[in-house]
Each structure stands twice: as structure tokens, then as C-alpha cells.
Symmetry: C2
């Protein structure tokens, strides 16, 4: 058995390559993080790297947004996902193995009902700056309609406000993948005359499909995958 330091280095290399594959969508569908990567994901999520990566994405987003010509018609839109994009569920995942445990909907729903998820700092800053630039903000989440009140309460608790619309999965949206559900909702916005300049999400299913934004911004999330 190699010395501990060596094993840790090997795990870091393995897990960093695993993270590359996950963040570029090369890994495709996956359920739990590899068991040997729990310490790696914990380090990444609770240290400076997660904050630094999120801040870099927000900076590129803002830099693009500043170049958008805002019309006078109130139809310039930006779409944000919520979980791990505007709000951070890190306190929940810290108590649940950082993505190494099988997802438990009941306990996660209890967490959602608490409405105490903090803002992802870089996203909160970006959100306010986009509003100042004149973008209308649409929040498009895989959360269900019955979680509307808890979600709105949590957003306000985290200092998000004045969104144009909060879009959740209604009864007719159940049973579709996130990619299709979110594409359909973006398509509806385009049909209403909105120009979706930017879209921010931690999942590729927030960003791909049809009716995609002019620019899509992938935030980091090595904890879980949603198809």
C-alpha cells in the first residue's frame, strides 16, 4: 500500500479528471459522485475554488451582458436557474455526503421548505448588475409549482428581488426531462417577444435543447447531475 500522501495525489488527479468530464458534459448521465472523490468534492465545494470558478463565470457573463444593446421595449431577457445557480444548497449537501449519497427527495423537500439556502455570492452580484443594465430576469427552475411560496421566500431571504417571472414545473410539465421542460419554457418566452440574451445554470440541461440563449453560462456543480 502506497503512503497516504501518494494515494491522495492519485485521487486528486483522478477526481480532477472526473470533474473535467462532468463539467464539459463528457460524462453524460451519472448518479452519485465516485466514492473516492468525496474528500475532493468537499475540498472543492467548501474551499476557495468553487467561489473562484463561480466568480469567473459571473465575470464572463457580465462582460457579455455589457455588450448587449438593450432595446427600449423591456424585452431583453436573462434566464437563471435557481438551485446551485442563484441559491446554494451546500448546507444540505454538506450534511448528505456532497453528492455521494443517493438523492433523497423527501429530505431535500424539507430543506427547500426551510427557505434558508444562501445566495451564491457571484450570482447575486451578477443578478443585480443585470437588472441595472436593463435586463428582465426570468427564473426557470425544476422545482415544482407547490414549492412556489417556499422558493420565493428563500429568494427574498437571499436578497434576490424584482424578478420578472418565476417559472416552476406545473402539472403538465411533469414527466419531461429538464432539457425539454426548460426549452419549452424558453420557447414560450421567445413567442412572447423576449430576446433571451443569456442563460445561467449549473446543469447542461439548463442550457441545451432548443430556444437556447444567445450565450449560455455553465456554472460549476460536481455534486449532482440532472438530465
Amino acid at each position: 500500500m502506497p503512503p497516504k500522501r501518494h494515494r491522495i495525489t492519485d485521487d486528486n488527479l483522478y477526481c480532477d479528471s472526473w470533474r473535467f468530464s462532468v463539467e464539459t458534459n463528457d460524462a453524460g448521465t451519472w448518479t452519485n459522485i465516485p466514492s473516492r472523490c468525496v474528500a475532493f468534492v468537499q475540498d472543492y465545494m467548501t474551499g476557495v475554488r468553487y467561489l473562484s470558478d463561480s466568480a469567473a463565470v459571473a465575470n464572463y457573463s457580465l462582460s457579455f451582458a455589457r455588450g448587449v444593446q438593450i432595446g427600449g421595449d423591456g424585452k431583453d431577457a436573462w434566464v437563471f436557474d435557481i438551485d446551485e445557480t442563484l441559491l446554494s444548497n451546500l448546507p444540505y449537501y454538506e450534511a448528505h455526503g456532497f453528492g455521494s449519497e443517493t438523492f433523497d427527495e423527501a429530505s431535500f423537500d424539507e430543506w427547500v421548505d426551510l427557505a434558508k439556502a444562501p445566495a451564491l455570492p457571484a450570482s447575486l452580484k451578477l443578478y443585480k448588475e443585470l437588472q441595472q443594465l436593463g435586463f428582465k430576469i426570468f427564473l426557470l427552475t425544476g422545482r415544482s409549482e407547490h414549492q412556489r411560496n417556499a422558493t420565493a421566500k428563500n429568494l427574498l431571504y437571499a436578497r434576490y428581488n424584482n424578478w420578472e417571472r418565476l417559472l416552476l414545473r406545473g402539472p403538465s410539465d411533469q414527466g419531461t426531462t429538464a432539457t425539454v421542460y426548460k426549452s419549452e419554457k424558453r420557447s414560450d418566452l421567445i413567442n412572447e417577444g423576449y430576446r433571451i440574451h443569456g442563460s445561467s445554470g449549473d446543469q447542461w440541461s439548463d442550457l441545451l435543447g432548443f430556444a437556447v440563449a444567445q450565450r449560455s453560462f455553465k456554472l460549476p456543480n460536481p455534486m449532482y447531475y440532472i438530465a
Copy 2:
């Protein structure tokens, strides 16, 4: 001025977040790597990380390919980009600042004519395995038609062989972006009855656009960007 170790750590954090933004396409169009990231990119490209990341992508590619039902009609296709996908131009970029110098077409073309670029090891292994599984291999490159001989010679030198077709930019393909050019060529293949199951490339312009593959695999490349 902070001690050197501290500065290096700060640069590493900055450059790792820059790399995240580049590899996820969040950075959008960029020309040269940040000057403070030259040592970081050099470390990444010449150490184990580049090999490890490439190997992880190849493993996910093969894992997907093994699940594809191969028809008996010879129409199951896989599309590979060439530069930084099958062949590595690292010897050239080592002599040219790892992407920190402005791209010089004349000297790069001289390098191409040498036909001595080595294979990216993980891609060579994947290439052979895909052929054994029954995939037809299409090579789709931004290199020009006049570089056909040098390119084929280099591929054989690096032990690639038996590709179905080598597609280069002809006179009518000049002046289009890589995304459009490559989408058009994939579209032609689909019109010929090919099923493009997988596509491998180090640039998002190898993978996005229209007529995209069922699964796209993004290889690492923190040295340069092609629109």
C-alpha cells in the same frame, strides 16, 4: 509584495478558474492565454493532468460507444477532429509560449508540413477500439485541402489508419466559421445515410451547431480557441 509561494497559489487559483471558463465555453471568444497563466498552462500540458483529462474523456467515449447497436450496413459513424484531438501539436506550442504568443499561420503551416505531430495517446487507443467495434471513422479538420498530403502522412506516422474519409476545408469552405463548416460536413454525412453516434474534438466549434452527433466529447485544450 507577497512571498513567491503565495503569488503562485493565487495564479493557480485564477488560472484554474480561467481554464474552467474556457473548457465549458463560458469564456466565449478569446485569443491568447492570460500572461499570468503561461506557467500554469505549461504545467498542465506537459505534466500528467493533460494526459489524465484526455484519458478520462476517451474512457467516457468508449463506454458510450460500447452501448451503440452497430447495424450491418456500415453506416455507423464517429467523427474526429485532428489537431489537439488525434494529433498533438504540443511540440510546436512548447516552442511558441503555450498559446501566449499570437498565432502565426506561416510557422504553424511549416510545422504541419513536417508531419511529425505525435498522437494523443488516449485518442489513438480510442480510435482503434472504435474501429474494432465497427464504427466508420471520419476525420473532419479545419486544415486546408492543400494540407491533405502532409496531414495524411502525419496521421500514418502517428499510427492512425483505415479512416473512411478525411475532410478538409476546400475552396468553397473558406470564410465560414469552424462551427458552420463542420456542421455542414456532418449534415452531408447524415444525408448520405450515416448515423453520427459520436464526435470528438478539443474545440466547442467541433461539436456544436447543427447535425450534431448523438454524443459529443470535448477534449481539453487550454492553449487556443477557434470560433
